[in-house]
Chain length 207, copies 4
DNA sequence: CGATAAACGAGACGGTACGTCGCGTCTTCTG
DNA sequence: CAGAAGACGCGACGTACCGTCTCGTTTATCG
């Protein structure tokens, strides 16, 4: 019956939490994070920017760390999430595939993301769970895509299976982190240079 | 005047600062850093572990960040500092040179160093000066050595000059950071695999 | 229009407020008040004890203070309210009249009432209106009765009119408050002693 | 030996707590208390008025309640403390003794004291220890003096020993509390009326 | 050798952010 | 509409750490 079916799915009683506010808070979090850095970011600042009370933030995330974690995670899924699985670019060669994937990461938001990751890394020891999550949230999807593209290239015989494909998948993102830390811009050219100068030779060199 | 005479050389009156304590503090700093992570590291904790008063720490380093920076820096110069310039290993091939350099970094202290770097990165936005310094203190010498070894290999004609030697010099350290963040061990094998699977192919591939 | 017809008398549309719940809430209020004291009494606690939602309480009383005020007021009128005016005990002598009036106050609930008054007094500064009301609700009727009994005794010539009858009327209740604050029991004997040892001599002494 | 004698009494190491600040804070506490009442009094407000940081207040008193308690206690000892024991007025008659004692209480500060007591009473249930302390701090000395004066009058045969001297000692203070709650002024005349109209008759009436 | 000036230990102090809790209001759903 | 459940804005609470300051004690150097 419809009533029973609804009963199972029935929303909890009481005023519904306005989940549209989640996004506003996360957005504010990223903004403040980008502007002040992790340790100068304040829940008060975030709440003020989101135009709501501090308690409203705390009702959703128990600590500053979890909030930032989610904010960065959301950031990733926003522009990457939909590019999953089958609909990856398929140009026939790994080089073209990877270059096709650079665009969405070659922008200003990329900087924010990496800054956020860096901000979270400080908590690695504080909360073990956060260590991986920070990486995962910030550059996880990026790594995932690289891994998928390379695996496909291997599968179709473009390259022999490398000893450590995982490390190669992490290579570009990590080198971008390196540049971010040094306040250097992350350019299209830099990424292409990595593909042509490191990734492809490494895969070819395994032969 | 008598007072001016020898003013340059004469030590200031009063009790002399005991510089042997500097090392004790830095050691304590690294220990606490490794144990609790940057944000849970407290000056109080460090002072207690070093067996002295908080003020004694602050007399030497103005802020927590500078303290950690120095601690990590000291860590680097301890086992790397003296290996500068001419006395680098010279086996004739880049591969053997680099492998010879792995040892001093292939230990538990390496983990501490990287954790410290990570801890400091959070301050990149707070204090621009610290951003580079953090990297420099933690993995700077490591990068320097790699750069030197590669440059020498290029100079003696072992490889053609790569487009971006700097990035290649940073490659191993950064990939080690990546593993550290993921709580994975940094093994000898991992480093060798990077040399054989990525660095050498990349240099050869440029040809 | 039909809608307008009888608008004055017609009850408002929709579900009617269940006024039997008022009493339940007030009862719960007194219970929590007695158990935890005013400042640890929570509207949540009261609502939970009454078995209803917080909003249901707030629909009836705008603030915590008003709620307690009413609860204490209700308490008074419950056992005193109907004893008004003409039906006061009339034994012929003030002493016997007052002793006859002691009973209804000589119980455990009396303690609750006084505790509640005490709890409310803290709000005297916050809300001037509440200052008097708190006293009135808690011990007002008690004072009223004493005043009436004494006035009658004066009227029938038992005593000469005292300089400050009002103060004498407040005397017993206030001394009971004093004992309550000191966690001492308010006994029958104590009240009789006040009548014989203070009230009567004071009235006689005026002569 | 002087050194050892000093060792026992030696002040704790470290910067000495500036106890002159205690008084400033207590003063500020009383001022804010008188101005806003207990529940609207804020530690922040007190600290601001005292011209120091919130932490400085919390270093001395763990909670708001303890702070107010001490503030009121200090108030009592300030103007009453020194009037102890032997140096009570001794005019030969209880009436004159008590009237001589009215002065120090017949002022504006008396109002503050009573307001503070009232403010604290709300915590009686929260912290049993505070219940008595509140009374003691606010009007304890006042009661003590009354008790002493009456006892002396009894001792010299001015009156026969009353059944409950304690209650008589509390009588004037409690009736003043009553007036304070009702926002009535506590005048010299009121106190004298109590002495002549209630206390003296009550003592005489016991005969 | 005694004066003196700085190091040192201990901890107070001014700040500032944290995360919690309660009030009284508002929203949403169910009866 | 009443009532339940609970989100929300507000603001105080008490805690923790930072970096500075104060003050009594210790120790090296200078006169």
């Amino acid at each position: 019956m419809a009533t029973e079916a609804g009963a199972a799915t029935r929303r909890r009683a009481g005023r519904q939490r306005d989940h549209s506010r989640d996004a506003v808070i996360l957005e504010a979090t990223l903004a403040v994070l980008a502007e002040h850095g992790y340790d100068r970011m304040t829940i008060d600042l975030v709440a003020a920017r989101a135009g709501m009370a501090r308690a409203t933030v705390y009702r959703r995330w128990p600590t500053k760390a979890e909030l930032v974690l989610d904010a960065v995670g959301r950031l990733s899924s926003t522009d990457v999430g939909e590019i999953d699985a089958a609909q990856l670019p398929d140009t026939g060669t790994l080089r073209e595939d990877m270059i096709a994937m650079i665009r969405p990461f070659d922008d200003e938001q990329q900087q924010i993301r990496i800054q956020a990751v860096i901000g979270l890394l400080v908590l690695a020891r504080t909360d073990d769970r956060l260590a991986q999550a920070a990486l995962g949230a910030g550059i996880g999807p990026w790594i995932d895509i690289n891994r998928a593209l390379m695996q496909r290239a291997v599968d179709r015989g473009e390259f022999a299976p490398p000893a450590d494909l995982e490390t190669l998948a992490e290579l570009i993102p990590m080198m971008c982190v390196s540049r971010a830390v040094q306040q250097l811009p992350i350019t299209y050219e830099f990424s292409v240079a990595l593909i042509d100068g490191v990734i492809i030779p490494a895969l070819r060199g395994t032969t």
